[in-house]
């Protein structure tokens, strides 16, 4: 056992998942596997913030329903999102009578949540935990960039925040792929300061966690059927493959990036999807489905997050990034 990696000896399993996706995501290459696709981005609410919150509560509500558990069985809700003070997650938690653990690691919140949930369940402190995260293009856009109707030009290295949210239940009982190990990442900053180039900023964090994971577990990229990164996008993925190969690991055969697969890459999204919802809805639908059907058996899932704010960007700071990895395997 290494310093950053935890083995989960009781193998807590992911018993069910649920994903809610926006219309644009629903039209993408993996649109058919989402549990629910919104017909409009307001989701019947007055504001986009309320819609984001409702997407999260829909995911939480339905993941519990789908698992066949009762709400009273759930010991804790671990949840986070991208908005200031993680309001969407907290406001969604208001509707559930469940202890709430609010977390933030930007777009890597989902693997942080899965790793924490597995730790709590494996430790025997709780038996059923819901992990949920989400994001919304329109709320993120106005927090981080410009108003929606402002006629600005996106630079070609930029990504598109995913509208969607997903939830998973980690349980000490029941069937499903198990979380066998987690590697908690450390904050990595290679000095990228362009907030439009998240892929380049986050790739070193993904590399750091991957190398730590491989060294500490003694596993190689070949051990896994798939290595799934969160939202590096097309450019970030290329950078990751390049810089990790310089360190002696070749992941090019095994690697898939959620940001890269979620959209039909056309001019508007440029490098692909990003946001806390991006990796979550891809994992909670497509990847989990493949694991369930045993088309995939060993998956390393690491979402990456850029830990910046608009204030730090305006003050000219570089972008610190993080990535947490969880190994999800069939028995």
């Amino acid at each position: 056992m290494g310093k950053h990696t935890i083995w989960f000896h009781s193998r807590p399993s992911i018993v069910s998942t649920y994903s809610v996706a926006g219309k644009k995501e629903g039209d993408g290459p993996i649109g058919s596997v989402f549990d629910r696709i919104l017909s409009d981005d307001y989701f019947g609410e007055k504001t986009f913030e309320k819609a984001e919150c409702k997407m999260l509560s829909t995911a939480i509500e339905n993941v519990i329903k789908k698992s066949g558990y009762d709400k009273s069985d759930i010991d804790a809700l671990i949840s986070g999102d991208l908005l200031n003070q993680i309001v969407s997650a907290s406001f969604a938690a208001r509707d559930f009578n469940i202890p709430y653990i609010g977390i933030y690691n930007a777009c890597s919140t989902v693997t942080e949540g899965l790793a924490l949930g597995a730790t709590i369940v494996d430790g025997g402190y709780m038996s059923d935990v819901v992990v949920a995260t989400g994001s919304h293009f329109s709320t993120a856009e106005r927090q981080y960039r410009y108003p929606l109707e402002f006629g600005s030009v996106r630079p070609p290295q930029s990504q598109w925040t995913v509208t969607g949210s997903g939830a998973a239940i980690i349980s000490s009982r029941g069937d499903g792929p198990s979380i066998t190990a987690a590697t908690f990442g450390k904050v990595v900053d290679y000095g990228v300061s362009d907030a439009n180039n998240m892929g380049a900023a986050m790739a070193p964090a993904a590399m750091d966690t991957l190398i730590t994971h491989f060294t500490e577990t003694g596993r190689t990229p070949d051990y896994y059927d798939l290595i799934v990164t969160g939202d590096l996008g097309a450019l970030g993925s290329r950078i990751l493959k390049h810089i990790i190969s310089q360190n002696g690991y070749d992941i090019s055969e095994k690697h898939v990036d959620c940001g890269e697969v979620i959209y039909n890459i056309d001019e508007e999204e440029y490098q692909g999807g990003s946001g806390a919802g991006c990796s979550t809805i891809v994992f909670c639908s497509y990847i989990y489905g493949k694991l369930k059907k045993r088309e995939l058996n060993k998956v390393l899932f690491l979402a990456t997050g850029a830990l910046l704010s608009t204030v730090t960007t305006q003050q000219g700071e570089t972008i610190p990034c993080i990535s947490h990895a969880v190994a999800v395997e069939n028995d």
Binding site: K46, T47, E49, R142, Y146, P147, L148, E149, F150, G151, S152, V153, R154, P155, P156, Q157, Y190, G191, V192, N197, A200, P204, L235, R238, I239, H242, I243, E268, Y270
Partner: protein, 153 residues
């Protein structure tokens, strides 16, 4: 933490990133900006002729009326969600004319309406246009001073 070795690694990484990152196609952007910006000006000139010869406006009244119509058109197109699409294509071409200024005021006004009329719509209306106004006023004061001082001799 930031020792010498680390910073050389970072420098190598940053230069690798800028090498591999896609660049804006400047020739195309410049052409689009020129074409769309020019077209907006042509519309302005067309309105000017109509108002001048059909409604016999002239001088400040004429200039004011043309600006008002362009601002209205831009605000309207922003409201129905068209102007940002023009902007994506045209870049500076649709930001620089007066229509771009109108867009930069109307867009945040629409967006922040959800936070109320006073602290949302009214307060946030100038988050993009504010700096333009500030530097516009500052530079006009500077020009005025130069003009005044030059007139003393």
């Amino acid at each position: 933490m930031a020792d010498a070795k680390n910073s050389t690694v970072n420098k190598a990484y940053i230069s690798f990133v800028s090498e591999i990152s896609p660049r804006t196609n400047e020739r195309r952007s410049l052409f689009n900006a020129f074409a769309v910006g020019g077209f907006i000006c042509v519309i302005g000139q067309f309105l000017r002729y109509i108002l001048q010869f059909m409604f016999s406006l002239e001088g400040d009244e004429l200039a004011g009326a043309v600006s008002m119509i362009l601002i209205f058109l831009s605000a309207f197109l922003t409201g129905i969600g068209v102007y940002d699409r023009i902007g994506k294509y045209a870049g500076g071409g649709s930001i620089v004319p007066i229509t771009g200024f109108a867009n930069s005021v109307v867009a945040p006004a629409m967006e922040f309406k959800s936070e109320g009329f006073v602290y949302g719509l009214a307060a946030k209306m100038f988050i993009i246009a504010g700096p333009i106004i500030v530097f516009g006023v500052v530079s006009s004061v500077a020009v005025g001073l130069i003009y005044y001082i030059a007139g003393l001799f």
